[in-house]
């Protein structure tokens, strides 16, 4: 019988997602989960709060330390802000620590100066691209309702000129599921991407009126992921990594997936807003009941060891009863907490998709193993 995971493992090194400019952004992507919030006000994290955070975080943890810089559009904080980050990190680096800075950007503001900075300080850069121009410009718009695709491509070109190969995040909406082949082909054959991940748009409470009817359903996602798997197989490039496929594959062979929504380690992350508010993730920013604390008035240690975070970690690990009999329990961990129906203790909305895709890819893997065995025999 499948055992329910009921106790939270050690939380390990906590990974911060830092919203340096609140929701402020130079684009107006229709599906953005900040779309219904005020994206016009430039509210950059104060130097005082930034320093407090960096100092306390680096005091608390050792080993590999991640800093994930997010927004809004984080580049709107300005280059001096990021130079200050690097200065603080250098100043407070202790023996046994290694730092990795990661930034998720829309890439429209990247110029030579930014690219040189990222290269010099080994920043990993993630860029949001939804597919080819038609797919991307469907929802990733600027203030004037114009598409942002050409600006993003220019940004990627600048990054590549400086030897930076960005990772790509594709956001999936209902409309774009119809363009699965065009977008896969664009990423692999035109943009020449070797690694990308897919986020799906789902607006549970229909808060975003501009996106009614665009939430991804189980049917949409199942079909999309199976198509991606088929195309990934046909492409047959050993270096081509689609995050979702990698996550499913890891689970099938009994390994931990890399993503928090598969591996049950969601509670390792925390989101720090520009004003000091700490939540489990930026997907939970609107949920006051999940507020871990406020760095402007508390220490980071107090917040991360506080009852709200410990309760969240426990809730994340307590699986839905339906998971007990599921063969994919340890590969899925009931998905993303933000997409559990009825709250953290609810069932993952995309449970059916997960089961179906795990089964589909498992069949492909078994077919591959059969062929491998057959190949061995013919060579004997």
């Amino acid at each position: 019988m499948t055992r329910l995971v009921t106790s939270a493992p050690s939380l390990g090194v906590a990974v911060p997602i830092i919203k340096v400019v609140s929701d402020f952004c130079n684009l107006r992507c229709r599906y953005c989960f900040y779309n219904t919030r005020d994206q016009l006000i430039r509210t950059v994290m104060s130097d005082e709060l930034l320093e407090k955070f960096v100092v306390e975080y680096m005091e608390l943890f050792s080993g590999h330390l991640f800093f994930i810089w997010h927004g809004g559009e984080p580049l709107l904080a300005g280059l001096p802000f990021f130079e200050r980050i690097v200065e603080l990190q250098r100043e407070h680096l202790k023996e046994g620590q290694a730092i990795k800075n990661v930034i998720q950007t829309n890439a429209t503001l990247i110029d030579d100066e930014w690219a040189k900075f990222f290269k010099t300080h080994s920043f990993k850069v993630g860029v949001s691209v939804d597919g080819d121009k038609e797919s991307h410009d469907h929802f990733r718009l600027n203030h004037g309702n114009g598409g942002s695709f050409d600006y993003v491509m220019r940004g990627i070109e600048v990054l590549r000129k400086h030897g930076i190969e960005p990772g790509i995040i594709q956001t999936l909406t209902h409309d774009n599921t119809a363009r699965v082949r065009e977008d896969f082909s664009f990423f692999t054959n035109i943009l020449g991407v070797k690694r990308w991940g897919v986020n799906d748009f789902r607006d549970v409470n229909a808060v975003n009126q501009a996106m009614l009817g665009q939430s991804i359903t189980n049917e949409d996602l199942t079909s999309f992921l199976k198509s991606y798997i088929d195309m990934w197989l046909v492409q047959d490039d050993g270096a081509l990594q689609i995050r979702e496929v990698e996550n499913f594959m890891a689970g099938i062979v009994g390994k931990k997936a890399s993503s928090c929504t598969f591996n049950g380690e969601c509670s390792r992350y925390f989101s720090l807003a520009h004003d000091g508010k700490v939540h489990p993730c930026d997907r939970h920013l609107n949920r006051e009941e999940l507020l871990f604390g406020d760095l402007s008035s508390q220490s980071l240690s107090e917040i991360l060891n506080g009852p709200a975070r410990l309760k969240y970690a426990e809730d994340v690990q307590t699986l839905h009863p339906d998971c007990a009999s599921c063969e994919w329990q340890r590969a899925c961990h009931n998905g993303c907490t933000a997409h559990r129906v009825g709250g953290i203790s609810g069932k993952y909305y995309f449970c059916e998709t997960r089961k179906s895709v795990f089964g589909y890819l498992k069949d492909k893997l078994e077919e591959y193993k059969r062929q491998e065995r057959g190949g061995d025999r013919s060579d004997e």
């Binding site: 997602i17 080993g63 590999h64 990661v102 998720q104 960005p166 490039d237 931990k256 995309f350």
Partner: protein, 70 residues
């Protein structure tokens, strides 16, 4: 060397070439994905993923930022 011997040799070379380059569709993709899982701890382990593992850290650090859904 007469023609039949020469041609026979070519046939053998051609057959060998075909056999050496034969891969079922998807085999490279799957082999690559399987190879990348070797750095990950077991699903049944309480060991945490990624950050303790330099290979995984390098591999995913740029975009696996906690926003995966699918």
């Amino acid at each position: 060397m007469n023609d039949s011997v020469r041609n026979a040799g070519k046939e053998v070379v051609a057959e060998k070439t075909v056999r050496d380059t034969y891969h079922p569709v998807g085999s490279r993709a799957i082999a690559g994905a399987l190879a990348r899982t070797k750095y990950s701890p077991s699903n049944h382990s309480d060991e945490l993923q990624s950050i303790r593992c330099p290979a995984a850290w390098q591999q995913w650090g740029d975009w696996d930022n906690g926003h995966a859904d699918s």
